[in-house]
Symmetry: C2
Subunit: 671 residues, 2 copies
């Protein structure tokens, strides 16, 4: 059975006011015809979820079928969205937090007329934008989901932007699975939605009772979810998730909510509509084999091709308009060479300077007086969001700001970004543009001890797809790099240092992302000492010591850890005959050392690298004591250089090292 | 004022029964003398918290002062602990989830007679075990805390072990700050405590209203915390945290709880007892200057040296007794060479085999039918814990099992361990022994798309202090390495593959941790192809192709990514004149390639490495399509080898590459 029909949009007015609860007219009561139509649409979404996953040979049809009626009612009567203009600032946002319900998401796109039936059937095939879990490769998808418990936190961030920054009446909807309600991040999100009174947010819990390998913690005990949602500051509504009238009433109510976010807790049946698998365990993440699919489609009433005209928003001006007001100039702070300033302080100062750009926003995880984000909070309180100690929500909010095309800067201790590593990983898949500033790097922090020391952060952040990793050594470069962050897309991480160290560079020195500075050189250097952050200062001191011994050391400031400046490194390798010492306040794996090695490993003659890094578990103590204990002090660096040159000195006659005289270019390799 | 006194223990009987609620006598009512004594003890804890932090010049005295009365009552009347025998299996556990209250923790040790006043004053000094935040360098500390929101989840895990495995009547206490209640992990923990009915757990919320940079989200709104604790399955008790009678009653009640964990929500005052800073913002994480400290100590009644005899537990037999029953033999599974078996399946089979060891326990994050941990769950249901989709709690439970000296194996998708990266980081500082199995590595998983692909996991796990990282390529090595995990301390990560690939090794081949296998070699190899997991199979296929072209390629199975076998690599570098191709199903940073480079970077002549890794953001598709797109297929590896040899072939006459004839030893470097 194939049907073609089209349904006109209901004329629900949308205007650009702050509180939709006071203005939106009640949508018309559902007629019997409406009800029947919504049921049909729900069946179509089920049939299409089965069809596309069976065509793919994998996917999650049963998790789609449980939520099909909810999505049918939302799409036909409540979602305000112009499918031809996904960038309309007044469009609602709908995030599939249960990203594995991608068959439903894509079937919804078909029902909205956004994709063809043919494209729907390309699901999960190589080259199709309809991937296993939704990603922003699709214009109507805000963020990648599929790591559970992340869609709702990001939805909360989008609602935060809508209420406090855009001040537009769009509504944010998040469809959640019941399994993901076990993730703490879900409760960080609802807590923040309650705290910030996000009445423009509706979370829908699709409680189908069954997880991947069996029953969820609480099955169909909706009462538990009700209590939790309420305790965390939301207004809960319980519905039968297959009763379109109940769903419609709940969605109407939530769109009109005031002062609180809504959580619709829907009792649903996994695999609903196909009696052979309904409410049965063992059908998570499995496409129906073709014969079963055929029976299922028949039981569901056959293939349909209903197309819905969703409600369209009023046209709206881009909240970011034509960019900053004319004449706006970012005046980055400048520090006197030789004065002692912490790079975290320079970050805070520079962030305030960036505040003249109206799309720059900031957020912090309750440590803004340590990261110095508090300076921005004071200067631009309307564009600062306190996320308290919930780093997952901190990153989610930043990603959401990127969705709304703000330029977010999120800060906490470098160590504590590890709490949100999965969110940062997913942000890269979402192609979000977020800036992260992690303070208190390495053993240099001293007395607080290892729990507060970022010692894995360079490795973790470098491994994020498309990331940029910056690590300044002085206040002027930190300020310049903070400025550069605003202009850099992707996941940008800035590592700052707790202590105050001498300013090395003049304020007008440039620090392009991807560059490196040769900060000391004689032209006839025997060894290159490579550092960043506090170890650059130790490298400079080591070079002084070596100079008194007649050894000329080049010192390189590797402030851009990723991308790394291969040219500067390659030239240093050529001049020093490949004698490198890399010193970093980080564990030995995957950090500055690896960045240097990876950059030149493919060269004909890669450099020889003596590596000073933190090898033992650190303790508490003074910064100098801990750097000495870790073997990253000036004396350790000088010692490593001496040993390198000693062993190099014993070269057998006639075995000149290739690459030692300019042969370090990869295409003209010396062997 | 200095006082010396000693207080006899109250004779509260402890016996080895399951439910203390039915057996423990009510402790005697507090007399006026008791009350006065407890107040004195609280003042001592405050004074000592000030003294040690002022001596250190840093630390968190005010966060200690708010909880001093709670700890005084707990120590004097409720904690059952033999300070001379911290390994007594019947000892209670007390975890400072608010690890920054370390001054209070150490002052408590002094009051218990466990450390001297002199040692207390070594707080935060280099070489002292009294670090800025507690670590298990101290025998009475179970785990490192200081990253907020982690102590309570671990306490939940310890209670889980106590109730379901040890079946001992010890009680678990966790002292939490109010700021950390914003962490989702706190709610994952209370949820699991409720779900598993952990009546042997008491969480104490020290609600002092002030966080690091200002007021917490909810200040003194204890009612919000009450609702949340109740909704998450705990029994809440509200008290004035400075009223020793109320505290005593609450602790008594919680020790006798049945069926539910208790959450004591205590209204307290930060800096309590010193009028100049009481309840004032701006005093978080600041030691009092000496003059203020003097005034504070005077106001608090002077220095005291009360020593408490805490209640001692009955002696108990070690639940792990003399190890496994005599004759117990682990018989690891064996697979036929050439048959196709997924390494994740071999992990599951081997885990069942390890089940004969009674201290092996397992847990999973609701994907046990994917990781194959479900096999263990079926075979040993009493020693399997379903953590549902809450990876932070998954790791916390594993760490807790290590605290109780079990051998935990925790599994989920490799990508989703990133959700608990901060917990893994802290587990290393806790010197916990936990085994992690991450399945679904890399683009090889295919259609599910990038959200489910572990592509940063090797970098992240390698950077964990003292970690071991294993990545088998076939089922027999996976089984052997799973067996080896049981015998390996620290954080051990095993990366498994989704698809089934041919078994390469005989079942009796050994796979020592830290080893590598030369799986193909002619003795005159021109290039070494280095892979692990799926890319080893691609390396083998590439070697076949190269052989038809007359190129002899050595193939190395780098199954032990950390520690890495430097010897095997160094020999390969010598034989191949440093021509390496490393292929990995991982992003290019910090993974297999970096492991190889870091191992030999200090050698006189490091190898030249062509690196095949996943550089673009992957999509959905078939595994072979995605591996080709990523450039890690057999053809890509062969191509990289050809290019390497081509450029090497154009060597200028007379510039023989040093190290090419055995000169690769670092101490006799060829230049």
């Amino acid at each position: 059975m194939d049907r073609e029909s089209e349904r006109p949009a209901q004329q629900t007015a949308r205007t650009g006011v702050d509180d939709p609860a006071t203005i939106l007219p009640q949508p018309p009561e559902l007629t019997a015809e409406d009800t029947e139509f919504l049921r049909e649409l729900g069946q179509q979404l089920r049939v299409d979820s089965i069809r596309c996953s069976t065509a793919a040979g994998s996917g999650h049809p049963t998790s789609s079928m449980s939520a099909a009626d909810i999505i049918a009612v939302l799409l036909a009567r409540h979602l305000v969205y112009d499918w031809s203009l996904p960038d309309n600032p007044n469009n609602d946002h709908l995030i599939y937090s249960k990203g594995h319900a991608s068959p439903l998401c894509y079937s919804m796109f078909k029902a909205a007329g956004a994709i063809t039936d043919q494209e729907l059937l390309s699901f999960r095939k190589f080259g199709s934008r309809l991937e296993g879990h939704p990603t922003p490769a699709i214009p109507w998808v805000d963020v990648a989901t599929g790591s559970l418990g992340q869609g709702l936190p990001i939805a909360v961030g989008v609602a935060l932007a809508g209420k406090y920054l855009d001040k537009l009446p769009f509504h944010v909807w998040a469809l959640c699975g019941d399994s993901e309600l076990a993730e703490g991040s879900i409760w960080e999100a609802i807590d923040k939605a309650g705290y910030y009174r996000l009445s423009n947010l509706t979370a829908i819990f699709d409680v189908n009772r069954l997880g991947q390998r069996g029953e969820t913690e609480y099955g169909w005990n909706l009462e538990i979810y009700r209590q939790r949602a309420e305790a965390f500051g939301a207004f809960p509504i319980l519905v039968d998730g297959h009763d379109v009238e109940q769903i419609d009433a709940a969605l109407s109510r939530s769109r009109r909510a005031a002062d609180k976010p809504t959580v619709i807790i829907a009792r649903t049946v996994k695999g609903r509509g196909f009696s052979e698998i309904e409410n049965k365990n063992g059908w998570h993440g499995r496409a129906l084999p073709p014969d079963m699919a055929e029976r299922a489609i028949a039981e569901l009433g056959g293939v349909r091709h209903i197309t819905i005209q969703t409600l369209k928003p009023e046209p709206a001006e881009d909240p970011h308009g034509g960019g900053p007001p004319e004449g706006t100039q970012v005046v980055l702070p400048a520090y006197e060479v030789g004065s002692k300033v912490a790079t975290r302080k320079a970050y805070g100062d520079a962030l305030v300077a960036l505040g003249v750009l109206p799309d720059v926003v900031a957020m912090d995880g309750e440590v803004s007086n340590s990261t110095h984000a508090d300076e921005f909070a004071s200067a631009y309180p309307d564009r600062y969001f306190e996320m308290f100690i919930s780093e997952q929500m901190l990153i989610a909010a930043a990603v959401a700001m990127s969705v709304r095309r703000y330029r977010p800067f999120a800060s906490t201790f470098a160590a504590f970004f590890s709490r949100a590593y999965d969110f940062i990983r997913m942000a890269a898949i979402s192609q979000a543009n977020i800036r992260l500033a992690g303070s208190h790097a390495g053993v240099e922090i001293g007395q607080d001890g290892p729990s507060q020391m970022g010692l894995e952060d360079l490795a973790a952040m470098r491994a994020i797809h498309g990331s940029t990793v910056l690590y300044p050594s002085d206040a002027n470069s930190a300020a310049r790099l903070t400025g550069a962050m605003a202009e850099t897309d992707g996941i940008v991480f800035l590592r700052t240092t707790r202590g105050a160290y001498p300013v090395l560079y003049s304020p007008d020195e440039d620090f392009p992302v991807g560059g490196a500075k040769v900060i000391r050189s004689s032209g006839r250097d025997q060894v290159a000492l490579i550092g960043a952050g506090v170890t650059l200062h130790n490298c400079l001191a080591a070079a002084e010591r070596l100079a008194t011994e007649g050894v000329s050391a080049r010192v390189i400031d590797l402030y851009s850890v990723k991308p790394v400046d291969e040219g500067v490194l390659r030239e240093a390798s050529a001049v020093t005959r490949g004698n490198f010492v890399v010193a970093e306040d980080h564990y030995p794996q995957g950090g500055l050392g690896a960045a240097v090695m990876e950059a030149l490993a493919g060269d004909a003659s890669p450099p020889r690298v003596a590596h000073c890094a933190v090898r033992d578990l650190p303790t508490s103590g003074k910064p100098e004591e801990l750097m000495e204990a870790a073997g990253i002090s000036a004396e350790d660096i000088a010692g490593a250089a001496r040993r390198l040159l000693e062993t190099a000195r014993f070269e057998p006659a006639g075995s000149a090292r290739p690459g030692g005289s300019g042969g370090a270019s990869p295409s003209t390799g010396g062997y």
